[in-house]
């Protein structure tokens, strides 16, 4: 059977929808204008299901599934919004705020930050889990960019764009749990990286104020991620 020609029909919030085999729930939901909140997902990069913000309910299953990596299946009944999902999504955002040191008022990404936007959209007015206040580094060794780990949400967009699009694979993930960090090369200062081409792609896909251009003041760092769909589309037409 030719997989790409197979059409699947299923339901999202009681709406009958169809999808090509292999399409994710998120993909189909977006085609129909149904908003599922996402953070680690970025169109043009391989989805990895890291942040869990896009969790949805499937009727008849107790387990919640991340819409960005779950493929639509025949007859599936997906629920994208419910009090339970809302509660989980809020908690995920709160955990991200509590895990590092987010001080929006003095952050270069204030007013241009996807984490901040998600918090507002989900009605997060305060953080119900205790703040951890870890002591973290700022790597300002790169000539043009800096990495402030106090604001990282470990979405790995930087890792993926550098590997999949730039082909440099400068970024990687090290450690587990609360010790988890994104690192450059073999955990050496970014400025001493042998692989980084200084293309700036990681800076502009980073959803937070972690990776930034140098020389911007509070609230000045506007990301320009528009290049990504363009680049992936161009590559698609070549192959």
């Amino acid at each position: 059977m030719n997989e790409t020609n197979q059409i699947i029909t299923f339901k999202i919030n009681d709406l009958d929808v169809s999808a090509a085999a292999g399409q994710t729930i998120l993909d189909v939901a977006r085609e129909h204008g149904i908003g599922i909140p996402t953070l680690c997902f970025l169109k043009g990069l391989t989805p990895i299901g890291a942040c869990r913000l896009c969790l949805v309910e499937i009727k008849g299953q107790s387990k919640l599934l991340p819409a960005c990596v779950t493929r639509a299946a025949e007859g599936m009944e997906v629920i994208t919004h419910s009090p339970r999902l809302q509660e989980y999504r809020k908690t995920i955002i709160e955990l991200l705020f509590a895990e590092r040191n987010h001080v929006c008022a003095v952050c270069v990404s204030n007013n241009h930050c996807e984490l901040q936007d998600k918090a507002r959209a989900l009605g997060v007015t305060h953080i119900r889990v205790p703040y951890r206040y870890p002591r973290l580094q700022v790597d300002a060794s790169h000539m043009r960019f800096s990495a402030d780990h106090n604001r990282c949400i470990l979405c790995a967009r930087c890792v993926r764009v550098c590997d999949e699009i730039e082909g440099a694979h400068t970024w990687d993930v090290m450690g587990r749990g609360i010790d988890c960090r994104v690192i450059t090369d073999m955990n050496q200062p970014w400025g001493s990286s042998d692989t980084c081409t200084s293309c700036g792609k990681c800076v502009h896909v980073c959803p937070t104020g972690t990776l930034t251009e140098k020389g911007v003041a509070a609230a000045e760092m506007k990301k320009r991620g528009q290049f990504l769909p363009y680049l992936t589309a161009m590559r698609g037409t070549k192959s």
Binding site: H102, C104, A119, G123, T125, H126, I127, Y131, Y133
Partner: protein, 177 residues
């Protein structure tokens, strides 16, 4: 209209920007003024804690023993407590000291950066708590208004709702920062 609402505003570890933002309600302050009785605020010289407060609005995080004393005292005497602004809600900039030990902080402030009289204070200055905390980590908070500072429109909305006997909608509360 029934009896006036007894209102207290409190200034803990914050920059006073949230109180300034309250003043930025401008002429709308006059609408509110008719409906409230201000029983304590940084603008007044009130000792101790007034009793039977209806609404206490707190700006600032809890950083030292004096802040802690105030927050406990006001909570005991108020029906509703509003955390106003990021310092009260998240600990914000005052909380940036939390990744350092008190010894490191004190030595930086009173020894390393002091050009004269290098000595640790042992009186007058209230002792620091081990960490700067948002209000809700210490006492129960009923209304959260994030923002640094929160916009005057949002403060006006929150207070108006409370004066009308409704809880403000958290979805209208703006954002951090």
């Amino acid at each position: 209209m029934s009896a006036k609402i007894r209102l207290a505003t409190v200034w803990l570890d914050g920059c006073s920007g949230c109180h300034m933002s309250m003043l930025d309600m401008d002429e709308r302050l006059l609408d509110i003024a008719d409906k409230i009785e201000l029983v304590s605020s940084p603008l007044m010289d009130v000792k101790g804690f007034p009793e039977n407060i209806d609404l206490t609005i707190i700006e600032g995080a809890i950083t030292n023993e004096e802040d802690l004393h105030k927050v406990l005292g006001f909570r005991k005497n108020t029906k509703l407590l509003m955390a106003l602004g990021d310092c009260a809600v998240t600990s914000n900039v005052p909380g940036m000291r939390n990744t350092f030990s008190i010894d490191e902080l004190r030595s930086r402030a009173y020894i390393e950066n002091a050009s004269a009289e290098q000595q640790m204070p042992d009186a007058v200055v209230p002792p620091l708590l081990s960490r700067t905390r948002p209000i809700h980590e210490v006492v129960n908070v009923d209304i959260y208004v994030p923002g640094c500072p929160p916009h005057a429109d949002i403060i006006f909305y929150a207070i108006s709702e409370l004066l009308a006997g409704r809880m403000p909608d958290p979805a209208q509360m703006g954002k951090f920062g």
